[in-house]
């Protein structure tokens, strides 16, 4: 019974995580400019990865495996924002024009 519940929860997490990953990829194509696409990609970076790893943690059979998965999550949590900021800052410095909503009120 317990195992069944764990399986259901773990599959729920993995499926929702996968769905969010696809959503991020679709957003990458649907959004109008570089900066807003970055937001779509950060869905894949955060909740999607988190849910998939949590689902896998529920499936894993040893403590070592859990620790390895958590280490993976930690590394992704460090590199995701760093890469996003590096991309955004470089685009900004090279004066890539963002598509803004508020009539070009840009500093």
């Amino acid at each position: 019974m317990m195992e069944m519940a764990l399986d259901i929860l773990s599959w729920f997490c993995i499926v929702v995580g996968g769905f969010l990953g696809i959503t991020g990829a679709i957003g990458l194509f649907r959004f109008p400019d570089f900066y807003s696409r970055l937001h779509a990609a950060s869905i894949t970076d955060t909740l999607s990865v988190g849910l998939i790893i949590f689902g896998l943690v529920l499936q894993s059979s040893s403590v070592l495996m859990v620790l390895k998965l958590l280490l993976l999550l930690l590394i992704l949590a460090y590199t995701g924002p760093t890469a996003a900021h590096a991309l955004a800052k470089t685009a900004r410095q090279e004066k890539l024009k963002p598509v803004l909503d508020d009539n070009g009120e840009e500093s």
């Binding site: 969010l20 959503t23 620790l67 995701g80 800052k89 900004r92 963002p98």
Partner: protein
């Protein structure tokens, strides 16, 4: 000295988690690697005040982390919804917020927290002014209220 001990602890647990084998030979290799890495760090003289960033009161971090996970979930759902609703549902803006933190580490934490929540990305940091790109006006207003800023500043207070 306590910094070196901290490094040893972190490196040793990293080695053990990634190898997962406790044979004497492999443990010896691990110990040798740790000694080499620490020797390299000392040689690079990179042990200034901030190369070892656990200077904030550590018992407050888990609370912030939990709050942060909640924020990430909420803003993820919001951005995912807007992906499916399409272009007309977003209103990108660029604006600046003031960071009230004193130390650089706390500013880094704040800027990275902004980047990590989908819907807002930090573009640049100058002194204590952060330039932020937000996907929607609502996300921008939410950030301007300054709750995240207040929470990170509270972490800093000893």
């Amino acid at each position: 000295m306590s910094k070196i001990f901290g490094f040893v602890l972190i490196l040793a647990s990293f080695w053990l988690i990634s190898s997962g084998m406790f044979k004497p030979l492999l443990l010896t290799f691990g110990a040798i690697s740790i000694v080499i890495v620490i020797a390299l760090i000392m040689r690079m003289k990179s042990k200034d005040a901030e190369s070892y960033p656990i200077i904030m009161p550590a018992w407050r971090l888990p609370g912030y982390l939990l709050w942060m996970i909640g924020q990430i979930v909420v803003s993820n759902i919001d951005v995912a919804k807007r992906v499916w609703l399409g272009k007309s549902s977003i209103s990108p803006t660029i604006f600046t917020v003031r960071a009230t933190q004193k130390t650089d580490v706390a500013k880094v934490l704040y800027a990275n927290s902004i980047t990590m929540t989908p819907g807002t990305v930090t573009l640049s940091v100058r002194e204590d002014v952060l330039e932020v790109h937000a996907l929607t006006k609502a996300a921008a207003e939410e950030l301007k209220k300054g709750e995240m800023d207040r929470r990170v500043t509270a972490l800093e207070a000893a």
